[in-house]
Amino acid sequence: MDFTTLLDLLDSSMRLAMPLLLACLAGLYSERAGIFDIGLEGKMLTAAFFSAAVAYHYSVHPLFSYETLQCDPGGANCQTVLHEVRAPIAPAWLGLLAGIASSMALSAIHGLASITFRGNQLISGVAINFLASGMTVLVAQNWFRQGGRTPSLEGTARFTPVDLPFADAIGDSVPILGPIYRELISGHTILVYLALACVPLTWWIFYRTRFGLRLRAVGENPESVDTAGVSVVGLRFAAVAIAGILCGIAGAYLATALQAGFVREMTSGRGYIALAALIFAKWRPWQALGATLLFGLLQAIAVRFQNIDLGGFVIPVQFMEALPYILTVVILAGFVGRAIPPRAGGEPYVKER
């Protein structure tokens, strides 16, 4: 494998890792606060659909339009003129907002079920995944009639790559580091940089702010938080809402940056893989980055090498397709070591006890 192929592979790992990273951080907030979230998958899927749908809509239609009556001086020869007002921001950004909103709506359901009504968090998450799986196709079919997908997104309906300063200049002049800068670091969409920025931000929030301290406490020992006069319910809802935002970005990234539009089941298990990565990372932000990059690499390898010929024996394509899932299981089973989840995870908080 030459250097360019390697860079290519790493570049696509990076792109494939970002939805995992965002979802993994979403899970981090939620689970650190004591709420299991199997529903990452469904939230991403919903966000993917709504971001693609909204981005498509506003790339074709104006934000709103109105008519005015225009007349010649003197009042004769009047005619109505249609004014179309385009959104002041690119449709892709409107799509992102819609994705976040839809994902947060599902978060609200999850919070209602698992915090307010102290229901089973796993079951709630599973329900949300099915809801997303059914509703996205149902609505897509109803709106676009293309068999449960959105039309392809073009132009400003998608997030386009951003070239970092001097990418081309350095890329050509500096050996090794130059191409790495140009291919690997530069040339991603803004959402990738946003996702990466979320890692130190999350670390800072968790380990340097009072809010973060309380979040961690509420996942370990909610009684102590309650005794300190801080609302357990409030903190947990906040965590679930943040998870909604992050899943929303992840879904929007899938449909409007990584790919050009929504297709059914396009998350294909990323939510679950993100959870596995979270366990692998032992519920810590920097490790989450490492874990998701690893899973991204696995996916990139599976996508790139569809048929590996091992001297007469060809590894079947189905094996490569299943590889990320197989390795998820392997990593969960073997390499995690002793992963201790937040102590109060999955347990609804009952004040009386």
């Binding site: 079951i123 599973v126 329900a127 059914g134 149902l138 094996f319």
Partner: protein
């Protein structure tokens, strides 16, 4: 004192959840621009008005009984087996191998052999997640989901590369030999004058499913193993105190669960398709979750919930045929049922409990 009578807990709570799910589904249909009442009429007519409709409804119900029982057995051990779909897929492979490579003289023997094959393969597919959960603490929810994806790839590979008849482009096995074909309801219940269940896929494995319900009831409530499964599911610390091995219960419960899911293939693969196709499970493994939750993990409840979902499934197919409502509506309904009966249980229960408490107070006065 119990907060409310057992019958209310068993009947009223699921019923209320169902009504809530129905109302929301109606709103969804309205939002699509269709008439919910007309839609319900189409579903009812298509699924329950003719014997053929019943034939489809009961065919689906058979699938859901197996997968619902599978989920509920695991639930009793507080294991959430989301892998019913993958286990059923592999069960299909077991059924297909049993039907294709063993020369059965008669269907009565073939159904036994296919059941063993399906259950073994389904159980085997559940074994790895079960073992990893028991020994390494790998969360069974994530591993079973991963095994669903892997099952699809395995089946895809086996069908495309190994079992596909030469010259066929279809990822499916060849037709099973006639001696393995199960009698359909039409074969069984039609008389010379009247043909019942015309064209419907319901077949003898329906009775196998009913047997499975009885088996699970005996297992869970009458055997020592069932006692230990329930004890472990209720409290791991107490199970440890009583000397009940968590490792053993986890693995055994998951094996039984996987075996039951695998049995579904007797209905779908041997009974209906009469060959193994790629997507024979059609999401039945997931519907099992809704069926188990709605049936309160009790075989009688699972039976009723399975028939109900059979109706929804058949009705949903009719809807997709006659209206603009896509068949994904059934997934939405399924999600809502899981949400209301599983996660928002307390939301439904709290007002009911308050009501019964008020009633009791009034009586006491």
């Amino acid at each position: 004192m119990e907060r409310m009578p057992t019958w209310a807990d068993a009947v009223l709570v699921p019923l209320l959840s169902l009504i809530l799910a129905a109302i929301l589904s109606a709103l969804v249909i309205l939002a699509i621009g269709e008439d919910p009442l007309a839609a319900f009429k189409i579903m009812f007519d298509g699924a329950l008005k003719s014997s053929a409709g019943w034939g489809y409804t009961l065919y689906y119900a058979t699938n859901f009984m197996f997968t619902g029982l599978a989920v509920s057995v695991a639930f009793h051990a507080r294991l959430f087996n989301i892998g019913g779909e993958g286990q059923a897929m592999l069960g299909g492979l077991g059924v297909a191998l049993a039907c294709l490579y063993i020369p059965w003289p008669h269907w009565t023997l073939a159904i036994v052999g296919a059941s063993v094959g399906g259950a073994l393969f389904g159980a085997a597919w559940a074994f790895v997640p079960a073992y990893l959960q028991a020994k390494r603490g790998s969360h069974v929810v994530i591993t079973t989901i991963m095994f669903n994806y892997i099952a699809f790839s395995v089946l895809n590979y086996v069908l495309v590369n190994l079992l596909r008849p030469a010259g066929s482009m279809d990822p499916a096995t060849e037709k099973f030999p006639p001696a393995t074909h199960l009698p359909t309801f039409r074969d069984m219940f039609s008389t010379a004058d009247t043909i019942l269940f015309r064209g419907a896929p319901a077949n003898a494995s329906f009775f196998l499913a009913v047997l499975a319900c009885v088996f699970v009831w005996l297992l869970i409530w009458r055997t020592r193993l069932g006692y230990e499964i329930r004890a472990f599911g209720q409290s791991e610390t107490a199970a440890n105190y009583a000397g009940i091995s968590g490792v053993r219960i986890t693995i055994v419960a998951m094996l039984i669960s996987g075996g039951l899911a695998g049995l579904m293939a007797v209905n779908a693969t041997q009974g209906e398709a009469e060959r193994l196709i790629l997507n024979s499970t059609e999401g039945a493994g997931f519907i099992g979750i809704a069926v188990a939750l709605m049936g309160r993990n009790h075989p009688v409840g699972v039976f009723i919930a399975a028939v109900l979902f059979g109706f929804l499934y058949q009705g949903g197919a009719e809807l997709a045929l006659w209206t603009n409502i896509p068949s994904q509506l059934i997934i939405v309904i399924q999600a809502l049922v899981i949400l209301f009966t599983g996660a928002l249980d307390n939301m439904v229960r709290m007002p009911l409990e308050a009501m019964f408490l008020a009633l009791r107070r009034k009586e006491a006065r």
